[in-house]
Amino acid sequence: MDEKLLKKSDISKLFNEVKDEYNFYAPKKVRGNISFELISDAKEIELDYLNSKVPPKDVLFPQKETIFEYHYEGKDVIIDERKDLEDKLLIFGVRPCDAYSFKLLEDFFAFGEFQDDVFLKKRENATIIGIGCNEPRQSCFCTSVGGHPYQKESTDVFLSDLGDYYLVETITEKGKDLVKKLSWLTDAKKGDVEKSKALAKQAEESFTTKFNFDLVTKVLDENFENPVWEEIAESCIGCSSCTFLCPTCTCFDVIDENDEYNHRGRRIRIWDTCQSCLYTLETSGHNPRPEKIQRCRNRIMHKFSYYPSNYDRLGCVGCGRCIVACPVNNELRLIIDKILEIEQKEEGEKANA
């Protein structure tokens, strides 16, 4: 049988076996928040978690990332390319929604004439160990965006939490290579596979948040100018918690960091957000999106209207982070409801007429 079993107590064994070959990232508790961090000791790995606060996207697309470094030799500039892009990465314990976000990011960065080499190389060298969700949260809605709490897309190895041990499924060649190295894994029994399937079904049924996003996209496409946006933007305070914690947000800013004393520097990119007024401010002083309403609209439109029209899929993985993070509770579910109300109103008017 292909499926294996991994005891939870054997995680440290797994870690010790692969740590030399891979940079091992796993959920870790940092000041009360779970985040994906480079692990140096197996004890740091947190196994019991709902989902990380900051999405694992920041392993492959960190908040601050060097694009290239440079140094001066007299008047000449020498550009030094990054060499660490070839390092092998292993990301342990990625939830299916976040794993799916890697697929989205990969497609986005590879889209079009120009490929984002910095991200894609790292993605290529990353092995992802996904883990199924047994208990989706109230704010989760991955099933509405084409996901599933046990979706295996873009994971290499997939784990199902069966209590004291994990069921290990290999999905890709990369995953096979990894599992091959762990020769001590025991074979799974048929019952374990059944159990995993039952858990998947149970998880799927427990979702409370469901949307019809086909309809949302349709309504959004037709309602760029609608008074409802004013209502949606009303209580927004323009902080960027939603975009900074979003696993699919990719916008960034490019900055040069100089170390003049040592005649060197680096060009870096850092996360940027469409919620900031500076984001679109031009040097001339003109700003195409000067108000909160345009910025709020841009975020929603980007995920649910522009993304489908450009890449033929939603720009959302349903992790629900923006729902939990919004400090004024102006959350996605309410926004979607308001958008769908437009449609209902229109239909009501049609019926009346």
Partner: protein, 343 residues
């Protein structure tokens, strides 16, 4: 004297009083719109709401989750507070102590006109420190939060936990001496509901004494640790009623003053300069900490600011719209013990 009753009863009473006041104000056309809180979609959450009809009054909510400082929506005025024809509307603000203080302080900075505002005063008994409870519950989903006596009861799947409210209050609320909006006698039309006159505030600032006693190295280590998770989302800035600059210093790019990265020095500089700008202006609402998605507690910095301003300039922000804020004012005899002098 307030009778000692359970949290829930107390909140319910405040809530029904608030609704009556709001209804009356709208009915008599004393205000055009009211900004308050409504029930949130998540436990321990409330959402700001703007109402202009009498029948919506029952949507207004008051409990210990109403932490957003509503003064934020007045500077700049949100679209709903301005009528295209009539101009600025008269706004009723559901105000706990710190919201009232924010409004009065903003008036002292000439940001708002108090004539256009009615303060619906509420004697606040503190807001829950949401992040602290979430962190203590850990990796379990909180489904329901209620109050029982003076305890906060947190329920989820397979667990139930009680937290004493006095302990799990926002840190600033624990030290709060101004629970109801301060009375401004010059504006008799300003207040409805519970507003109080405050003479000089007495505050010993015991809570930060321990931190202050640390050595520079210990302090630096603590600050580094506390801010290490900061993602520079600027939620603290955006939620702060006093942060209304058109262009914040971190956003200035001609020249670029400070780095925008999440490297440690850059984060600290951001918080340091922001604190600098808050001196004599912070109204101790704690919104900056409560909105932080990473749960960073910035309150101890705000307390320090309050202490400096109180001890140096004997100033408490948001009590009187006619007193100049200390940082725009000066006195010949200000203390200058920190100046370098010849031996």
């Amino acid at each position: 004297m307030v009778m000692i009753v359970g949290l829930e009863e107390e909140n319910k009473e405040i809530e029904s009083n608030m609704r009556e006041l709001a209804r009356g104000l709208l009915k008599e056309k004393k205000v055009d719109v009211i900004i308050g809180y409504k029930k949130g979609t998540l436990p321990m959450m409330s959402q700001p709401i703007i109402i202009d009809k009498e029948e919506d009054v029952d949507k207004l909510l008051w409990n210990n989750t109403c932490y957003v400082n509503l003064a934020k929506y007045l500077v700049p005025r949100v679209a709903k507070f301005v009528d295209p024809e009539k101009g600025n509307l008269k706004v009723g603000v559901v105000a706990k102590g710190c919201v009232g203080r924010a409004l009065i302080h903003l008036a002292s900075e000439n940001r708002i006109n108090l004539d256009e505002i009615t303060i619906i005063g509420i004697p606040c008994n503190g807001v829950i420190n949401r992040q602290r409870i979430e962190m203590e519950i850990g990796e379990k989903e909180i489904l329901e939060v209620t109050a029982s006596g003076n305890n906060i009861v947190v329920k989820g799947k397979n667990f139930e936990k009680e937290f004493p409210f006095d302990e799990y209050m926002n840190e600033l609320c624990k030290q709060c001496k101004i629970r109801s909006p301060p009375l401004v006698s010059k504006f008799p039309d300003l207040h409805v509901g519970a507003c109080e006159e405050y003479a000089s505030i007495v505050d010993e600032f015991d809570d930060i004494a321990e931190f202050e006693a640390k050595s520079p190295e210990e302090k630096w280590a603590y600050i580094q640790d506390a801010l290490s998770v900061c993602t520079r989302c600027y939620a603290c800035r955006e939620a702060c009623p006093m942060c209304y600059c058109n262009l914040c210093f971190v956003d200035q790019n001609k020249p670029i003053w400070f780095g925008k990265t999440t490297d440690m020095p850059d984060i600290i500089v951001y918080h340091l300069i922001r604190a600098m700008h808050m001196a004599g202006r912070c109204v101790a609402c704690g919104a900056c900490s409560l909105v932080c998605p990473m749960g960073i507690d910035l309150n101890f910095i705000n307390r320090k600011l309050e202490k400096i301003v109180k001890q140096r300039f004997d100033f408490t922000s948001g009590l009187d719209p006619d007193t100049l804020p200390p940082m725009t004012d000066f006195k010949m005899e200000d203390a200058e013990e920190f100046m370098l002098e010849e031996d």
